[in-house]
């Protein structure tokens, strides 16, 4: 089997450490117990080689033999094909995991990321745009709360959908946004208590700190 190599930045500023999206890939690799190595690309000098692998100049990407893929969601799905620790083999169950994987990206993160970015800036001005972002997140959290209240993991057993959903919600939690949503909060606690998460998180933070 070909070597799995995760590519990420050599360094990022303090603020996003622990939240850079290679975390999701690290977490999946640790859950599946798949051997991998990590290679760095310069944060400050994104050259042609970087853009050849990731056309938007972002991270992460994964190489698997002569396959190179970006988009953490796609990478997670690729890894999930080879480990039932990441996704069940049963086609019905698999379709549900994929549904929640897309939901985490396109329905929840679509609301939480703009909200999170505003929190980072510390901007407190009450504009209509700001209100819309707050309302959008609130609607999504209100809808996901009863779902998470009645199940341990979004698609039944733990899957790549939980890696993304938990990582999406933990950004909201970082800024206290899960107050009033106890099921969401407990879900994040539960997910981040997993040893695979803790290792992935520690590894990412250490990796970036090493370049300081």
């Amino acid at each position: 089997m070909a070597d799995l190599i995760l590519h990420t930045f050599d360094w990022v500023p303090e603020a996003p450490r622990g939240f850079v999206r290679d975390l999701r890939v690290r977490w999946a690799l640790e859950e599946a117990g798949l051997p991998y190595s990590v290679k760095s690309v310069p944060f400050h000098d994104r050259g042609a080689e970087h853009f050849a692998h990731q056309p938007f100049g972002q991270v992460p990407w994964l190489t698997d033999g002569d396959l190179s893929i970006f988009e953490s969601g796609a990478i997670l799905l690729h890894l999930a094909e080879r480990s039932e620790a990441l996704m069940p083999a049963d086609p019905r169950a698999r379709a549900k995991v994929i549904q929640w994987l897309f939901a985490a990206h396109n329905s929840v993160e679509m609301a939480s990321l703009p909200w999170g970015l505003i929190q980072f800036t510390g901007d407190t001005e009450r504009t209509p745009g700001r209100k819309m972002i707050d309302d959008f997140l609130e609607i999504r959290l209100r809808r996901i709360e009863p779902v998470l209240a009645e199940r341990e993991w979004v698609a039944g057993t733990f899957s790549v959908a939980d890696i993304v959903m938990a990582d999406v919600l933990r950004l909201v939690d970082r800024f206290d946004g899960l107050r009033g949503y106890p099921a969401c909060f407990d879900y994040v606690e539960r997910a981040t208590a997993r040893s695979a998460f803790m290792k992935a998180h520690a590894d990412q933070v250490t990796h970036f700190a090493a370049a300081d």
Binding site: L101, F102, N106, M110
Partner: protein, 219 residues
């Protein structure tokens, strides 16, 4: 047995094929699978019966026997895996096509949505022009990068795939903004997608809902 999808009874996009049933219809047309449509009103979407299918109370949903799915991206991927015509057979090429599906929804769509929100909400504010300029700069960045990657290829990675379907659908939302025109190859890419017979059939079907005029022999 034909799958059933849900769509707006009264679409906010007024028949322009920008609601999220459009990529699902397009995918079903591409693979030649007939489907039924259940139109839902805004009130019905708030009811428990619909929420049971869609936790976020939206459309589309997809029912096929006892399988119920929501999320247009997931539905398109399900269709692409179940029927032939939207994903290559080669495992690596398949992984790349799926990569482009995520790129469309997670990397390109968010900046497009930001622009729509700014347009919708803050038109009358003094900072509107400045904010729009900032948002459009971000979009330009993504479009330039995507344009560079596409080059003079017909589709993103070899044959037309579900990745192109979702990407074209996201880029269509920029029609009329002038932004697509700044990258001629992207303008042509979108036009190429819209020229596909499957796209045209899907578009006509959703438009017929808006105009109230039923199609003859519709799928």
């Amino acid at each position: 047995m034909s799958p059933t999808i849900t769509a707006f009874e009264q679409s906010p996009d007024r028949g322009r094929g920008l609601a999220r049933d459009m990529p699902v219809r397009w995918a079903l047309e591409e693979v030649g699978q007939p489907y039924d449509v259940r139109l839902v009103s805004f009130d019905a979407m708030k009811e428990d019966a619909h929420r049971a299918l869609h936790p976020f109370g939206q459309i589309p949903t997809y029912e096929e026997g006892d399988l119920v799915l929501f999320e247009s991206g997931a539905i398109v991927l399900h269709i692409a895996e179940r029927y032939a015509g939207l994903l290559p057979d080669d495992a690596n090429a398949r992984a790349r096509a799926i990569m482009w599906m995520f790129a469309a929804l997670s990397t390109v769509e968010p900046v497009v949505v930001q622009r729509e929100a700014a347009l919708y909400l803050e038109r009358d504010r003094s900072w509107h022009r400045e904010r729009m300029a900032m948002v459009e700069e971000r979009i330009r960045g993504r479009l330039t990068e995507l344009s560079g990657r596409l080059g003079d290829a017909e589709w993103l990675d070899g044959a037309f795939s579900a990745g192109d379907l979702l990407m074209v659908q996201v880029l269509r939302r920029l029609s009329g903004s002038g932004l697509l025109g700044e990258c001629p190859n992207l303008l042509a890419y979108v036009a190429r997608g819209e020229a596909r017979p499957a796209f045209k059939r899907a578009f006509a079907a959703q438009r017929a809902v808006y105009t109230g005029k039923p199609l003859h022999g519709s799928v």
